[in-house]
């Protein structure tokens, strides 16, 4: 049973994430946590934009907030986001990782430690290699790794790096990723009701 979905995106990510979330219903059971690389002084535009285009509730992650199904949590600019075993969010002002704050790797490492095999990690479009090592670690801990097909990605470098480094379970186009998430969440539900 999956406890969380973590998503990392960089250049081109805004539209990729929008497409991914658009076909997920408001009652999608698994909490989704997103790192999208942003300029440190960005405003709330990304959150508002995503929230308008999905049935899920999209919000900026608050420090110590406990994540829930039906919600999408976006990391605030200029902080790293980590997730704890008790499902709560920790933010940190540590040094940049892979020249980025937030860094996808930082989220992925902490989520893999917290949720082990009950985690889905997704790497989308981007022009760097943040997320590759994190996805490797998710796989190492028994979680599921999904990467956007580089040929579809606006910037193929990040998904390519993740494929090479982490040998993901699935390489898919965005719409297929949404479908797969829906299937996995339904399995989740079936197992839950047993």
């Amino acid at each position: 049973m999956y406890k969380a979905v973590v998503i990392g995106a960089s250049a081109g990510g805004m539209y990729a994430i929008k497409t991914l979330l658009a076909s997920l219903p408001g009652n999608f059971r698994i909490p989704i946590i997103i790192v999208q690389h942003l300029a440190p002084d960005s405003d709330n535009y990304l959150v508002e934009f995503l929230d308008k285009n999905t049935g899920l509730t999209v919000k900026e992650a608050d420090e110590k907030e406990v994540v829930k199904g039906g919600f999408v949590y976006v990391c605030p600019p200029n902080y790293h986001i980590l997730v704890e075993e008790n499902m709560s969010i920790s933010l940190s002002a540590d040094e940049k990782v892979n020249y980025s704050r937030p860094s996808i790797d930082v989220l992925f490492y902490s989520a893999a430690d917290a949720f082990q095999e009950s985690l889905i990690g997704i790497v989308l479009t981007g022009a760097n290699d943040d997320g590759a090592r994190g996805l490797f670690y998710i796989k190492k801990k028994g979680g599921l790794g999904i990467v956007q097909n580089p040929s579809e990605a606006e910037s193929p470098q990040m998904p390519t790096a993740a494929i090479l480094e982490a040998n993901p379970d699935h390489v898919l186009e965005i719409r297929q990723i949404s479908k797969m998430l829906l299937q996995l969440a339904n399995q989740n539900q079936d197992k839950n009701s047993l």
């Binding site: 997730v83 940190s92 540590d94 040094e95 430690d113 190492k140 028994g142």
Partner: protein, 279 residues
């Protein structure tokens, strides 16, 4: 790929043991810091020193005080800036400074001041508002190395461009270059800004009430603590603040869920400035 759960369990045990060892031997208590954060800092330290395991790291930390110094530095994230979050400073100028001007003298506690950039930002703002000469700023941190740097007030020249931009966005009234002297690759902060500043070692986890302050500033420190420790430290601030005094936290920190919340009114929701309204 098969689950890695044995390794995970081993690491958790090793982390708990190392935290206990550091607390019992060196007196630094990290047990109520955020678990994910602790794990991350340990892995960064492990990679830096190329230790095979956290157990091996524990041996070195416990037996070699120099390794411990480095361990402590790695744990206390000294990442800071001058006029970090310029919006905070401009709001502070607009909404808090006028009240502070009505006081005959000011005691200010800046907790978790790291290498001092925040302290000198406040000193500059107070000077421009004509308040510095009747202020005492107590600037504390639990990291003595960071405090030493803070006292020297020498910073890399590479930072100046972004600090100048911050200063302007923060509502600076003069020219930022009035406040430092450039020397090769570094700048030294003007002496006049240091006169009313007292740097002191203080551990928020284990040390007590610090001073009867009119203003306490503690930004980007509480995020590293769990809820219980946040609550404890906020109570410590409450005990150290006069009624009517102000408390300023980092933009992602809040008193909302703490036991002191009902004693405070919110002056700025966005910039996390609170006023103590009841004892």
């Amino acid at each position: 790929m098969k689950s890695d759960s044995d390794n995970t369990l081993r690491e958790k045990i090793e982390i708990d043991l190392l935290i206990e060892a550091v607390n019992r031997f060196y007196g630094y208590d990290f047990s109520d810091y955020s678990k994910a954060h602790i794990k991350r800092r340990m892995m960064v330290f492990l990679a830096k020193h190329r230790f095979e395991s956290i157990s091996e790291m524990q041996h070195h930390v416990l037996h070699n005080p120099q390794v411990f110094e480095d361990f402590l530095n790695n744990f206390s994230i000294n990442v800071t800036e001058m006029f970090r979050d310029p919006g905070f400073y401009s709001e502070f100028r607009k909404h808090i400074i006028p009240t502070l001007k009505t006081y005959p003298y000011l005691k200010i506690w800046i907790a978790g001041c790291a290498t001092g950039e925040e302290v000198y930002s406040f000193a500059i703002m107070l000077k421009e508002e004509g308040l510095l000469s009747r202020s005492t700023i107590y600037a504390t941190d639990f990291n003595s190395e960071a405090l030493q740097k803070a006292g020297k007030a020498i910073y890399s020249i590479d930072t100046i461009k972004s600090y100048t931009a911050n200063y302007q966005k923060a509502g600076g009234k003069s020219s930022f270059s009035d406040y430092y002297m450039a020397n090769y690759n570094s700048v030294i902060i003007d002496k006049s800004l240091k006169v009313n500043v007292v740097f002191a070692e203080h551990n928020l986890v284990t040390d007590g009430v610090f001073t009867e302050a009119n203003l306490i500033v503690c930004r980007n420190v509480l995020i590293y603590f769990n809820r219980e420790l946040q609550d404890k430290v906020l109570s410590l601030f409450n005990d150290s603040l006069i009624t009517g005094g102000f408390l300023a936290l980092g933009t992602k920190e809040t008193i909302q869920f703490s036991s002191i919340a009902n004693k405070y009114s919110t002056v700025s929701k966005e910039n996390k400035i609170y006023k103590k309204s009841i004892i």
